[in-house]
Amino acid sequence: MSAAAEQETVQEKNYLNADHTLRSWLTTTDHKRIAILYLIGVTFFFILGGLSAALIRLELTSPTGWMLSNEMFNKTFSAHGIFMVFFFMIPAIPAVLGNFLLPLMIGARDLAFPRLNLVSWYLYAVGGTLVLIAMMMGGVDAGWTFYTPLSSIYSETQISLTLVGIFLNGFSSIVTGVNFIATIHKMRAPGMTWFRLPLFVWAHYATSLIMILGTPVVAMALLLVVLERSLGVGIYSPELGGDPVLFQHLFWFYSHPAVYIMILPAMGVQSELIACFSKRKIFGYHFVAFSSLAIAVLGFLVWGHHMFISSQSVYLSVIFSLLSFLVAIPSAVKTFNWSVSLYKGSISFQTPMIYALSFIGLFVIGGITGMFLASIRTDIHLTGTYFIVAHFHYVMVGGTVTAFMGGLHFWWPKISGRLYSEFWGRISALLVFVGFNLTFFPQFILGVLGMPRRYHMYGIAPEWLFYNVLSTAGSTVLGLGFFLPMIYLTHSYFKGRKSTQNPWNAKGLEWEKAASPPITVNFTEKILVTEDAYNYDAISDAAQALRTMEKRGQLAVVDDEDAWWDENSEDKS
């Protein structure tokens, strides 16, 4: 049998159609199938989180509220934060894209501990179910931050059950982290040296370190809240001899690093996208790789910046402020490196690249507004206001969700073996960018004007109405931008054109050596790595583009949808 023929038959049987029963999915240890299970989970929670966000935004179109009670409003934003942070953002990139791609990228058959991988999904699923049950039993109203003693003594909502759910979910991410680290250390194919690893892998390595070191702390902190609630053990409540601010220390000791759990994998995705769509090596590979580690380490030393005004000593605050300024530097370095990677590239604007370029713009704003908060004097005025809400949405939605969407589109042909509509892809990427800015930029102004977050009513300052309405208007555009991909990606999964193995002409083992979709054991041949990551050749790519243009009699744009898919799609017939 010739190699090509073998390729074809192998492609017939892939990880998706290897077995069709529900049981085969629920008991799978294939990292790719587990990634799909996670994708279903995070999409589900993203939809729930999105619906609750819509409810919040609608309610705020009147200074005095018009459809929700105070209790409902508080429960809604608490649900929004809990779904989005713990059950969408934290697992989104690592557990979906990371799970799917790490073994493929390093030339391995699976993760180091496939069964543990399945365990981690079950922890996630059970945790998520408990939280859903808690929501159905009345929900929680203390916010996703669960500040004590509100959460431990005063709130009469389903705090304990929710916390147990989040606790389990925390273990899911610890388990994933352990699995990733072991995999990256032990399972690299021959020739895949540390400095040949794609930056996506570096980013996940750094993320896993944070998951392992940080998550146990928050898990314990939350469990102590449960103990105080149920057994009256005095830990956080001053009435019981506890210290309410202790909770904030424990919580942010994890949750600040956790924002890097959310953004570092996004940075990894970003590096892959920029490289592929500019057909260039990432500028300053080593600096980008080490900045991930620097962020992971420094990220553990800045938690006190959430407590500048919660009775922390002045000197401690000053030190935390200094460290917070420092932690911004590696992120700035990365941004410059991505930008300059475009230099002398051959840049095309496919959907993933539009997301990648949005990412740069939004992440710069998100990161730079962090400077206002690292700066202690200005933080006094801004903390607790909508400025914070805008800041973290620029980072978490503008950064992480944008990268997740970009990555999902980029690897979609690999994951599903199908192509989606490039037209709708670009439209929705632009909708997300425009809608996002319209939703969240006005919130910076609201914050500066002094509107506290988590405010149900602002009758005291009706002049805040305008920006709130603007924000709500933007959120409908944003919502549409997120809704469309759910439709056309689902459609493409069943009906889309078949993709070739490597539709983007991308480098990387997952594109060059594995079929689309990959077979269960990932590769048919033994992998031997002989070149660095991102060994792209912009010159020949540009030349090829010119040739195609000539052939098609075009003057300029070559990457319109048809031309692109003509070059790359399988069923050209």
Binding site: N70, E71, D141, A142, P149, L150, Y154, S155, E239, R280, F283, G284, Y285, F287, I309, S311, V314, V318, L322, F325, A328, V333, F336, N337, S339, Y343, K344, G345, S346, I347, S348, I360, G361, V364, I365, M371, I376, R377, T378, I380, H381, G384, T385, L449, G450, P452, R453, Y455, H456, M457, G459, I460, A461, P462, E463, L465, F466, A538, A542, A556
Partner: protein
């Protein structure tokens, strides 16, 4: 209110608001510069080198230590500069002016209790003379709140179980918002009110007209503290001098205390509070655990006791105040009228009726 008439910047009405705003604008300037720089760079490169153009792509560079040092170094220096500037303003802001006018704040779900040194009490409203430095001593009766005064660029958390402080100097007469900026439960967004800054003579007039009726019978905060002290019979153990039953409380504020467990602590509001509600947690050297716990005292009572203890000079000058009138028990707490909405409307009201207070 005009829907289209929208401010971009909040009013600035305190002494260090201008310094804050200058720092804010500088960071804004730097931010805009870097954001525009990156966006322009990305746009120019993306257009110039888009697929299909005939741009020169030969000799690409993959790394440059010089460039890396440049774009690590420049932001680093700017960040450090901003840090120093900001930290200095912060330290200044948090360096409490001991001579400032005292205002006592008790936060509770969901209202602000404020009390002037002379005993005048207000709820969700505060009247202040312009130009007078103010220091708030704050504590929460339940969950964490945050006293947020945007026009003064001032904010600090109000925590249960410990005192926090906030200072500012209003510089412009007017009415400014007083908000709770820490999620504190169901009616968090209704825990709002106004600070009315007035010219000195107006303030005096206001005191004249409203102060008395808002003032509890006990008189000033110190007098109220004295009444609690007598009421609870603290004096039976704490006389003017150290004795077997209890240590003297005269002149102890700000002093160092040696404890039975060998530690030395400074006597401050927090120490006094803990000594009263949980005496066994810190036993003064040479004494036994005989002091009963007064954990049922309200935060207002304890604040008053603290003020009283602080006012006690040396053991010599006993009884700094005459007790006014009949021994009415101090009514330092207003009964819980937590959800009155009268003063949460858009237009600031300047007076309050007795009903709202009591």
């Amino acid at each position: 209110m005009n829907f289209w008439n929208n401010p971009l910047w909040p009013e600035a009405a305190s002494k260090d608001a201008a310094a804050h705003d200058k720092l804010f604008f500088t960071i804004t300037g730097l931010s805009v510069f870097f954001t525009v720089l990156v966006c322009v760079l990305v746009t120019v490169l993306a257009v110039k080198y888009r697929r299909g153009t005939k741009a020169d792509r030969t000799n690409p560079i993959d790394h440059s230590t010089k460039l890396e040092v440049l774009w690590t170094g420049v932001p680093l220096i700017l960040a450090l500069g901003t840090f120093v500037w900001s930290a200095r303003l912060f330290v200044e802001n948090r360096d409490m002016d001991r001579d400032a006018m005292d205002v006592f704040v008790v936060g509770k779900q969901w209202m602000w209790h404020l009390q002037h040194m002379d005993g005048t009490r207000e709820n969700n409203e505060l009247h202040l003379p312009v130009g007078q430095p103010v220091k708030m001593t704050m504590i929460s009766q339940d969950v964490i709140h945050a006293m947020y005064l945007p026009a003064f660029r001032a904010q600090y958390h109000v925590v249960p179980g410990r005192y926090t402080e906030l200072q500012f100097t209003p510089t412009k007469p007017g009415s400014y918002r007083m908000l709770c900026a820490m999620h504190c439960g169901t009616h968090h967004s209704e825990m709002v009110g106004w600070v009315h800054v007035m010219e000195a003579d107006e303030f005096a007039e206001w005191k004249e007209a409203n102060g008395d009726k808002n003032r509890p019978k006990a008189g000033s905060v110190i007098e109220a503290g004295k009444m609690v002290f007598e009421d609870k019979n603290c004096g039976s153990c704490h006389t003017g001098e150290n004795n077997v039953k209890g240590p003297s409380l005269y002149g102890i504020m700000g002093e160092q205390r040696s404890l039975a467990n060998g530690q030395t602590v400074a006597v401050d509001n927090d120490y006094l509070r803990l000594s009263i509600i949980d005496p066994t947690s810190q036993i003064v050297e040479g004494y036994d655990k005989t002091m009963p716990s007064y954990s049922s005292l309200t935060e207002e009572d304890i604040l008053a006791l603290n003020a009283y203890v602080k006012s006690l000079g040396n053991a010599g000058d006993l009884v700094p105040f005459e007790r006014p009138g009949a021994p009415v028990p101090p009514t330092a707490t207003a009964p819980d009228s937590s959800t009155d909405t009268a003063n949460r409307t858009a237009s600031p009201s300047t007076t309050q009726t007795e009903d709202e207070i009591q």
